[in-house]
Amino acid sequence: MEILYLLIPLSLVLVGVIAWIMIWAVRAGQFEDLEGPAQSIIMDDDNPAPDDSTTKKEQ
């Protein structure tokens, strides 16, 4: 049972870290648009047209 003296304070620290991450995420605007990223990932260019975007990189 003595391990609890370590584990419980450790869990407190862990919760603190998670809370800090959450607050950072809110401040950084991660919750501003909850629908967009889900949609835009589908729209990623799977088969880029053989023109500008690819040719530019090759130059």
Partner: protein
Amino acid sequence: MSNSPGLVSPPSFFSCFHCGLPVPDGAHYPIQYEGHEEQACCRGCQAVAQTIIDSGQGAYYTHRTALPATPQIAESELKKLGLYDLPEIQESFVRVEAEHIREAALILENIVCAACIWLNERHIAQLPGVLSVEINYATRRARVRWDNSRIQLSDILKAVSDIGYIAHPFDPGRSDDIYRRERNTAIKRLAIAGLGMMQVMMYALPTYTATDMTDDIRMLMSWASLILTIPVVLYSAWPFFLGAWRDLKRKTPGMDVPVALGVGSAFVASIYSTFSGHGEVYYDSVTMFVFLLLTGRFLEMNARRRAGAAVEELVKLIPAATTRLPDYPATTEEEVPVVRLKVGDHILVRPGETIPADGVVVSGDSAVSEALLTGESLPVSKSAHARVIGGSLNQASPLVIRVDKLGADTRLAAIVRLLDRAQSEKPRIGKMADRAAAWFVGLLLVITALVGLAWYLIDPSRVLWIVVSILVVTCPCALGLATPAALTTATGRLTRLGMLTTRGHALETLARMTDLVFDKTGTLTRGQLSVRQVIPAAGHDAARARAIAAALEAGSEHPIARALREGAASGVSVEQVRNQPGQGVEAMIGGVRHRLGTPAFASACCRTDLVPPPSPDGESWVVLANDDGLIAWFGLADSPRADAAQALRALEQQGIRLHLLSGDGEAAVAATARQLGIGVWRANALPEDKLAYVKALQDEGRVVGMVGDGINDAPVLAAAQVSIAMGEGAEVAQAAADMVMLGQRLAILADGVALARKTHRIIRQNLGWALGYNLIAIPAAALGHVTPWMAGIGMSASSLLVVLNALRLADFKGENPLPQPAVPQRKPA
């Protein structure tokens, strides 16, 4: 959108590659796409599609899930974009970051699916000089940063219109910022409460279940719980304490008081117990309690905001530009922002433009739609010396107007003032939950005091723990969730059915509505003329007459011309078309002079006096004649929406009294009322009359709902206990309304009432359950039989039950289910 009622338009072999509308016969607008040729329906679509494909974003066409509107390219609008580059205009909406770096917020119009967002983002981002662009999917707003030395804002706006969308710069303003901060704070509070709740539960569960736990470990657990509960109570639950304090100061106890009382007393008692080492700890109940309530409030806030935002942003658009004629009567033109107009300026208003200020027509002859301002549904013809009202829409031909009233002096501003007054005088209907809460709080305090006193006499050492357990177990939680859970679910359901709720009380009031007042224009009718009746003269054929009329009016955008063209056969060729503004049109057909227009105009052609037939249904008559005499009379009238009669019957069956108030003339209103079976109606009603009418009904104790769409309706909408604006109506009307109808289905009204009533019932059940639970819990707690784990289970079970009961609203199906089109309805181009 088929031409004649009853006929389904045949499947077209060629639908436009871009917008999906049928390609008209003889149109040839080819588009090169992936090596083969596609057809567009018009130049606009062709240009837009070609721009999209040529800039390498052709993938849009494979990804889109909804069809866009047919782009309408107005050269005059494009010219005005240049104004947005003026520093004094930019001042209100552009943020200057560095010397050349600018940032602006834009509202995008015509966005119909995710592919639109993707297309816009890609298209704007590839413009040279644009540093970044971000489009928020939920709000349809874009944030653009650009280098002003390399690209101008007008170029960006132009690029957006090139691909068929419209971008308006707008002032995000303070309320937006405030909302953002509020929402972020709410998420933070919720996150802290959620984390706290989960972890405290982890510590609490072993103390409830373990049999061999030493006191040291138990103490360690409660200290850890205390540390986690401190931020939950002091930060997350802070709004409840503030609210309770405010309620007490105003002496109107609401839901916040029992919440604050429960949280506060349980927390303080638990601290005491942790320090002193005896007694119970309630940290798990406290954190769970706070988290559940915050979730309810957060959902409520989101639902409200989503509905309100759409309306708000329309109101915040940057004022448009107008064409000034500085040296009138010389025709030099300059584009100026409306704010820079002065009294006495001459302005040119082209067809399709909105008149920016009150004034007098100096030259020109046109039809002007004042529907949004006066409620008169049909365009009014205006020629020299006629007065025009700012905010009305010029429909037929250019007008030169001398401005005589601006800003606060205009008719529009007066209506807005009337609106403010009506809104402040609106009768308030107390919220059911608040009334229940007031009773509940009073009762709870009395019972707690009595029980405390009784235990003081029996066993003073147990008073504190008994009192705390009563306060915790009485569970204002279920009571607090009862209303928001039901309202949020119902609001969401209603939005999917096609009705936005913009004010919190709307659903509760809708359930209790006894009278519904309609404004005719645009609510019950389509607000659009159509041919009701054709009376051919002897020896003439109605279909042939319609074809001739359609050919004569082929070039005109006047509403009468549009009505005559609709559903008529083609194939008549006309020559030498001459338009006589305000009177009619003349042309040669096979060498014979034909005239179409007012009786006086046509009479002059055939040299006989033409007397229009009687119009019992409020039709206006247009006559077609040639040199030989009369050919046909056309009776035109505004027609009721297809589902109006059915929707009204459904409302009547729900026991709602229907009224019709209209700014239109007697005959037209009487005809509509008769067709739709509305008993109580009033014609020629001014906004003031409508307001008085609604107030009179309210004085009789009726709960009045109002459906309207015009700016003239805004004051009445604000005064009615619950008001519903039409989605396609004026923005001011929407801002004043409690609900906004999306789409054109009136049947949604009856569904809305049914859903509101069901919501009402569910809220009652929830409140009943919360009270019933307390009837059992309070005596148990008072007798000292409730331990913290029982309180925790009781609280979560009753909250869960309340939420599940509310979720039953989510699968409410209306009597008139929405026909689900694969592609959203578009306004006819």
